[in-house]
């Protein structure tokens, strides 16, 4: 009997070690694009474009603006987890172009409180018209845990 009591006492002493994650993050995956220009002296410089409007081409859905007529030097754009291609239309009211991105993605667990997100791998990137001169890949891996100073794609105008 003594040992039964002892055993129960020991079992009650067990450490409870539950980990509790707190989720205050956005689970969506964003591609950070930076606007660039080639100066007269041939150096690459940042550029600010005014009146910029950006939206994604969503099959079977009404267009919805991500940015609406604002001045900006970079754009943070959500990638489509449902498809292998994401297309964005960029316009400044005068010129217009479409960026076409081909990617693969896999679902992964961010943590057990936040749930799942997509981890994208950019495979091809091109623009449809002439306004955008060039696209330069800086970082092809895009996941839901966005590093604030990360830049994925440079867009040259």
């Amino acid at each position: 009997m003594k040992y039964v009591v002892l055993l129960l006492t020991l079992l009650l002493l067990l450490p409870s070690c539950a980990t509790q994650d707190v989720c205050d993050d956005d689970n969506q995956s964003y591609m950070v694009t930076k606007f660039k220009t080639i100066e007269d002296d041939g150096l690459i410089g940042d550029t600010i474009l005014s009146g910029m409007t950006i939206y994604g081409i969503r099959e079977g859905k009404a267009d919805s603006l991500i940015y609406d007529s604002i001045s900006m030097s970079k754009a943070v754009l959500p990638l489509d987890p449902n498809n292998d291609i994401t297309r964005f239309v960029l316009s400044n009211g005068i010129s217009m172009d479409t960026v076409i991105l081909t990617h693969s993605s896999e679902v992964y667990l961010i943590n057990y409180t936040c749930g799942f997100g997509s981890r994208f791998s950019l495979e091809q990137y091109t623009s449809a018209w002439d306004w955008i001169l060039e696209l330069e890949l800086r970082e092809g891996k895009i996941d839901a845990e966005l590093d604030t100073d990360e830049e994925h794609l440079w867009i040259y105008f």
Partner: protein, 220 residues
């Protein structure tokens, strides 16, 4: 930390009490010792519930050296924010314990041991009803994700075993476990690696509380 010192205190108390339990006996017996680890049954009362069972086999092959083999199974299921998760499988550990008590003090087979284990688990885990949020493009759903995995770890083990009746023992141990392949599934960290614990932690503490019976084959 308080609970660990609680263990040590209770264990030492047990050892002090024991010599009065039965008479001194200079005849020593040897043989394989089988044990049931009662610690996994605590999982019945935790949230989420972890179901499991574990048995052990050891033998004093050389004086004070006990090769140990442990075999077990555990599984769990939990629902976290719409995702239902399941993990389960078997595991085995192989290692050795060294008894610090002097041989001459051991007419009974009490032991204060330190040792190590190598552990391996083959298990599968699965999540259902997965949603990847996208406000702009629309949420992406998949029915399930499943993967079969093989986890490896090592354990540093300290314990006390007391012979409470002839050939019957109780023993407890505290284990410090080091996961060798924490990136076994880059898409989904296992919530339970059977025999190890939470796969999101590279180091965990564990414990065992066992009742054991030694089959007295050899008498000296």
């Amino acid at each position: 930390m308080r609970s660990i010192s609680g263990y040590i205190f209770s264990g030492l108390l047990l050892l002090c009490l024991l010599p009065s339990v039965y008479g001194q006996d200079t005849l020593r017996t040897y043989g394989p010792r089988i044990g049931i680890n009662l610690a996994p049954f605590v999982g019945f009362f935790t949230d989420p519930q972890v179901l499991g069972a574990e048995a052990s086999l050891d033998f004093e092959l050389f004086p004070n050296l006990y090769p140990v083999f442990e075999l077990g199974y555990s599984s769990m299921a939990d629902s976290i924010d719409e995702v239902s998760y399941h993990s389960g499988g078997g595991y085995a550990r192989l290692g050795i314990d060294y008894n610090f008590l002097d041989l001459k003090d051991r007419s009974q087979h009490h032991a204060i041991t330190a040792g190590f284990r190598y552990g391996s688990s083959i298990f599968s885990h699965r999540a259902e009803n997965i949603t990847v949020e996208s406000d702009y493009w629309g949420d992406y759903f998949i029915d399930s994700y499943e993967n079969t995995l093989n986890g490896h770890w090592i354990e540093l083990v300290g314990g006390i075993t007391a012979e409470v009746a002839k050939n019957f023992f109780i023993g407890w141990s505290v284990r410090y476990k080091i996961l060798l392949n924490p990136d076994m599934d880059p898409q989904m960290v296992p919530l339970l690696i059977p025999g190890y614990g939470d796969g999101s932690l590279n180091r965990v503490f564990g414990f065992s509380y066992s009742v054991l019976y030694k089959i007295p084959i050899i008498k000296k």
